[in-house]
Each structure stands twice: as C-alpha cells, then as structure tokens.
Amino acid sequence: MIRKIKKTCKGLRRALNYRSIQFTISASFTLVTLVSMLFMGIVLYSKFVSKTEETTIKATEQLLNQTNVNLETYLRNMMRISDSMYYSVIKDKDISRDSLDTEMNLLYEVNKDNLVSIACFKDDGKLVAATPVATLKKNIDVTSQEWFVSANEQMENLHFSTPHVQNLFDDTSYRYYWVASLSRMVELTSKGNNIRGVLLVDMNFSGIEQLFKKSNASGELEYIYLVDSKGDIIYHPKQKLIDSQVVEENNRKAVIYEDGSHSEYFGGEKRIVTVKTVAYTGWKIIYVTPYSTFNMSLNQTRYFVILLISIMMLIMVLVNQFVSAQIAKPIKRLDKSVKGLENGNLDVVIYEGGGSDEIEHLGKSLNLVVVQLRKLMEKIVIEQEEKRKSELDALQSQINPHFLYNTLDSIVWMIEGERYSEAVCMVTDLASLFRISLSKGKNIISLKDEIIHAKNYMNIQKIRYKDKFEIHYEIEEEIYDYQTVKLIIQPLLENAIYYGVEAMYDEGEIILRAYKKEDNIYLEIIDNGLGMTQDSVESLLTDNTRKRTKGSGVGLKNVNSRIQLRYGEDYGLKIESQPDEGTKVTIHLPAILYSDMRGEQKHD
C-alpha cells in the first residue's frame, strides 16, 4: 500500500515536471483556481458561520426579550390585582363588620384564567376572606409557609414565591394547584383598629408554564428556562427529568451571569447562554443554545459549499484545459513542423497561421529560413552531382587511350603481317566500338549496345590472340531493352583475357552470360583461367594502392565504383575465384528499362 502511494506520488512529481506549454499553463491555472476556490470557500463559509451565529444570537435575544415582556406583563397584572385588592377593597373596609367577599370574588372572576385564589389572612394566620370559596385545611399553619414569612419579613414589598403546590384549601376533587404566590403585608381595619394581615394572590403556575412552553415550541435543541434569584428552577422544559436527576442543568452557575450572552461548557458540550433578568422578582430567563444547533443547521450549508466548490473547480479545470489548449495549439503545431525539420525533412510546411501575432511571426520567419535552407541544399546536391559526373567522365576517359593503343598496336601487327582482311575487320570492329563508346556523350546505354560493344571488343581480341581462347555468349534477349552504365563488360573481358586465359597452355574459354532475375540484371564473365586466392579476390575491390600491370588499366574497382555511383551500394560487382579453376565476375544491375531513362540522359 505504502509502496503504491509512493509510486503514485512519484508519478505525480514526474507529471509536475512535465514541461509542455499546455500542461504548464493548465497546471498553473488549475493550481491557482484550486487554491483560490478553496480560500474563497473557507472565507465565505467562515463569514457565513459568524453571520449565522450573530443572527441566531439576535433572534435568541429577541425571543428572550419577548418572553420577558410577556412574563413581566403577567406579573404586573398580578401586582395590579394585589394593588386593587389592597387599595380599593381592604383599605376601605372594616373586617369586623364588612365582608371582602364581593369585591374579592369580582376581582377573581375577572382574572380567573390566571388565578387560583385570592386570600387575606390576619397576622396570626387566621383566614379573613378567600375566593373562590373553599375550606381551609384542618390544622394548617399558614404562618410557617414561605409566602407568609416573606411578607412579614419585608413589609413594604410585594413578594413573589417560587412555584409550589398550594397547601391551603381542602379540595375533595383531589385537585392540587401549582401556584406562584404574590404576598404582601396589608393593614386591616378591625373595629376601627389597624391590625396587620397578609394578602395572598396565588397565580396559576400554568400561566407561566404556558408562556414558556410557547417560547420552547420550536422543538429544536435550544431551549428557554426560568430560575429564581437563588438559581432554583421555576420552569424548565425538562423539569421532571431534572428533578429525577436524569438530566442536569447548569442553573446554579447561570444565575450568576450578567444579562447578555455567555459562552460555557456544560455536559461535555459548548453552548451559548443568554440571560435576561425579570423585573420585580429577580428571576432570570435563560436561553440555552448548544453549538451543535449551529453545527446541525450549518452542516447542510457546509456540504453545499463543498459541492459548489467542487462543481466550480470542475468547470474551471475544464475551462483551463480549453484555454490552455487554445493558447498552446498554434505553438504545438509550430513545434510539430519544426520537429519534421529536425528529422531532415526540408519539404515540411512550417505552420504560420493562427495563434498570437508572436507565434505567427515566428512561423513566417522559420518558413523563410526553411526556404533558404532548401535552396542551399539543392545547390549543394547539384554541385555534388556535377562533381560525381566529372569524376565519372575522368574514369571513362582512362579507357580510351589504353584500348586504342592496344588495338592500334594489333592492327599495325596485322598490316605488317599482311593480314589485311583481318585488319579491315578489326578496324571495322574498332569503329563500331568507338561509336558505342561515344554514344553521343551518353553515360547510360542499352544493354544491347553494351553487349555489341563487348562483342566488338572480343572480336578484335580474338584476332589479336589468334584464337588462343574461345568466347561463348549466353544472353537472354529480353535484357537488351534494359539500361546499363556503359563500358562495364569490356574491362572485365579484358581482365579475363589478360589475367585468366592468356598465360594458359591450353585453350582458354570465356563465357559471357546475361540474364534477368526478378528486378535485377546479372551479367556474368566466366573464365577457366588461372584464378586467384580468396585474399586476392577480397583486395580487388577494396585496395586502392593496387597497381595493374596489364590491360587497359581500367580495374574492377573502377567498374564497381561507376555502377555504385549510378545505382547505389546495393549493386556492383561480385567476384568468385578458385586458383587453377577460373574466375567468375558477376555484374549486378537494377532492371531499369532503357526507354524509361531517356529523359535523364540529358542530365548525364
């Protein structure tokens, strides 16, 4: 696995080292795009997160303020009931003769949705009046109850108790009420005397509960709860679970917080706690927003941003590929045409259209260079051709003096020996020989002419050597129409005579065989003369220092060079020889019809 990863990394490194212009442009653009998109994504996401947090906190504070306003309205309502009862009813009545019931009932009826009871007690705990009409429990000691004690401790104030089960009246329907008690010390008039008493307004706790339930109705992870000034929970959506210690709440710490938003860790999670103090009571409304709420709501956004970035990246990569391809296309075409030039192809057309002005200019300039180069090359080729022709001419010019000298020498001998008819034949043959040799200055002649030339030559030699050897011609007629470099058979026949059969005691035999095989023409000069060793054979065509002692001086190497200069290295001479057995020299020529080469004769 590790090896595979390493291999992949290595491959990537290699890929990054790849230096084509399209790749460089595309890779740079892609890298810049990736980094920019990632950076942009992260920045936008961070901004979005902080904005969401800000918005959530603002919404929280709004909800908190709204809940606070509702709660304060509710409490003010209760206080107004208490004030009305005290200042409009109790202060005007003498309890020894007047009943408070009518006014108390009236007040209760008006506000009964929020009230459980209104009651007035003397300072010894005896009931003065209560509504709705109910029986006080037997043996109940109201003076020990919290609301009564609080009212007595601070006489000037109104006191809100924490919610509790009302423990005053007997209700045979088994009903119990959770109430928040509003108690205050009042002055009662009895028989003209002022006595102290306590006015109790028991608010139905369900009013507060409903108010907070409404605020918690969203059902999300965030919630709102209410504590008193000591941190005891008045309302909590999970009140019973907290009471049963199934869940915990950080209410003891939250009550210390000032109004506003605070960050805290509780129960292993980070959360924002927003606090608002309720007027008159010192109670605190606490709104808890776990950070996981943000995470949950931001999760989708986070993945949406990733999705969006990846799509954007894909589009950008494709656009990069397209743009880089458009930029690199003319350069690549230019590069491709220059590569053709590198391979020696001067006929290549250098790309000079499309792309930027710079590329177009470069293409045109290179094209000019190529044209110049091509002209130069053509000039060099022509010069080389001329040089080769002059060399060939020089070689051919070596033949004539030797042969002429020998032949004329033979004719002189014949005339001196009064062999006139033979001299005539020889002169005739010589004339024919020269006619073919000249061939109007052509270098390439038909094989027919070449063979006639060879026969003329052999006729002359046979007269000179007085039939010291026999010559046999085995020539396929179909080869006559093919072409050859002129004067290549005669020097070989000359060699066969001088080095092969001249020194023989017996009659020598020379065979001239000519045939076509596939696309090749083979001319074989075979003698049964002295032959030579293999070393001598090998040196014949390679040794430049070798000097000829007999004949016209035109050696095998000369003939071989001329054939190869004309037809290439694949053609030329092949020599096979065995001492005392004879020698066979094969001329290998391409089978090219003489008629096909007529146009070229002009150049030769």
């Binding site: 679970l241 199934v246 999705l307 990846s310």
Partner: protein, 316 residues
C-alpha cells in the same frame, strides 16, 4: 498512460472526491424523518392508573421522534384481548412493544411465537419470555420492604395487619409482598388477599368485613385506591399503607388517611422505557435492567420541596 493524463486524472479524482463528499454530506445532513412506531400495552382496570407514566412516555416520544400508541387492557377481559391487541399492533408495523402484563403461560407461549422481530421493553413487572428484552422498574422488593419498615415503626403492639396483594400473576406485586413480609414478619399478618387478576372493591370489602384488621396494606395503585375507597369514611386515620402516586392517593396522604405511601417515579419509568426502546431499535439490544427511584411519603414530608415536585404532576 502519459504523465499528463495521470496529472489530469489526479485532479479530476480529487474533484470527484470533493463532489462525492459534498453530495453525501448534503444528502445525509437533510432532516431525517425516521420515526419509530412503538406500542405500549398496559394492564389496568383504572383509566387514571397510568397517567403519570403516560406523561413520561409522551415526553420521551417527542424527544426521540417516536410515535406512540398506548393501549390499556383490562385484567378482566383476559389474555385473549391482550393477544388480539398485540397482533393488531404487529400487523400495523410497530417497531417495538412496551409491556406491563401479567404472567400467563398462554400469553408467554404466544408471545414467544409472535415477537420474533420486535423489540421488547417491560416496565414495572416482567414476564418470562424467551426473547431478550429490557426491563425498567422500581426495586419492587425494596419498595415492599420500606413500606413494611414504616408500618412497623408506626404500628402499635398487638395490632393486626391485612395485606391486599392484588393480581398475583404480576411479579411486581409478588416481589413487593416478599419485601413487605421480610420487613414485618409473618406473625403480624392476619391475612393476605391475592388472586389471578386484579381484586375488586367488593372482594376486598368482603374480606375486611369478614376479618377486620387494624392496618391495611395495598401493594399497587389499584388496590390502594380500592382500600381507600372502602375505608375513607371508617375513621381509619393513618391505618392504610399503600403504593401508588395518583392524585387520589396523594390526597389521602395529605388527609392523613394513608400512614405511609411508597410512590414509584412513574414519569421516569415511562421516559426510560421509550429511551431504552430507542436504544434497542438502534441496535443496542443488550438486556438492560434499569431501576427507577421511588419516594417514601407521609403527611409530614408531602410538601417538601423535592417531594412535591414528584408527587404533584404539573397541570397540563
């Protein structure tokens, strides 16, 4: 493959990975509406009997996004009705059953055959089915024992005790009886009344008339309420001891008729039963046994801050 191709493929692979991650995350972070359907089958002749438990169940159902169908079966109608309800709930595709049933061999056998793929949570009382289940209940034995200890503390010498156990097929009743007997001993007990189903008020009254006792002990909510109904006008102040937490029972504690009350926290029992079912439905199927707490209440401590929170349900 050329290096350039490798490079392009790497980039495309990276983008594809990002795209897949984004798509998967986006799809999976959408609000999931996987709601479980859970049926609760409770045995009782008294419709108010399970009101606090139901509050706990409903509170947890909201928290765990669970749809609850609560069925109450009468002990009088027997096993057939109970099995019919279970069959109906299974047919309706319930994911789990929360049960409080009497131990009946026919019922157990049928349940063993029926409840192959259904998660089970038993509350308060358990029945011996072969399939694994979770069990949420108070420590019934200890409840009985604490009730007995309080009775002994207040009992005058030579006074007699009558114990109304109720349905002896509910093992919660039997465990409480065992705990009670362990605390007070056999010698103080004049009689023990128990049957194969819940006892009616007439049966209890008849026994009380036939063999009057000084102290009456009820070991579940139903029989405690029945004892209170029979004895409330007989001047039996502090002579009844019982188990339960209905408003009626609490009223009689407040009135001093009940000398001592043992009240299991049924709200938590209900809450925990749904919590446990949720865990089981999410493949945590180990057999949990969870004990819920209970309070020992009398007239003096009824209005203590902590006790009143548990004893008096908030008015909804």
């Amino acid at each position: 493959m050329t290096n350039k191709m490798k490079y392009i493929l790497s980039i495309l692979l990276l983008i594809l990975l990002l795209f897949s991650l984004g798509t998967y995350g986006y799809m999976s972070s959408e609000d999931k509406n996987d709601t479980y359907h859970v049926s609760v089958i409770l045995e009782s002749n008294n419709s108010e009997r399970w009101s606090i438990l139901k509050q706990g169940i409903e509170s947890a159902a909201k928290e765990y996004n669970t749809e609850i169908n609560i069925n109450t079966v009468s002990t009088k109608t027997g096993v057939t009705e109970c099995l019919d309800i279970i069959r109906r709930e299974l047919k309706n595709g319930t994911d789990g059953l929360i049960l409080d049933l009497s131990n009946n061999s026919k019922l157990v056998k049928e349940l063993d055959d029926m409840l192959l793929d259904t998660q089970i949570v038993m509350i308060e009382s358990e029945i011996p089915i072969s399939k694994g289940y979770s069990y949420i209940a108070p420590d019934n034995y200890k409840m009985g024992y604490d009730l007995g200890s309080n009775l002994l503390k207040n009992k005058k010498k030579g006074k007699t005790i009558g114990i109304v156990v109720g349905n002896k097929k509910k093992n919660s009743n039997m465990e409480r009886k065992n705990g009670l007997i362990a605390a007070i001993g056999d010698r103080n007990v004049s009689w023990i009344l128990e049957d194969d189903s819940e006892l009616t008020e007439e049966v209890i009254a008849s026994k009380m008339n036939e063999s009057p006792v000084d102290y009456l002990v009820g070991l579940n909510t139903v029989v405690t309420e029945e004892i209170l109904d029979i004895s409330k006008d007989n001047g039996t102040q502090g002579m009844v001891y019982g188990v339960g937490n209905t408003e009626k029972i609490v009223y009689y504690v407040d009135q001093g008729v009940l000398g001592c009350l043992v009240a299991p926290n049924e709200y938590i029992m209900g809450y925990m039963s749904v919590n446990s079912m949720f865990n089981r439905l999410n493949y945590d199927t180990k057999e949990e046994r969870t004990l819920v707490d209970y309070l020992v209440i009398n007239k003096e401590n009824l209005y203590d801050v902590e006790n009143q929170k548990l004893m008096f349900p908030m008015v909804e």
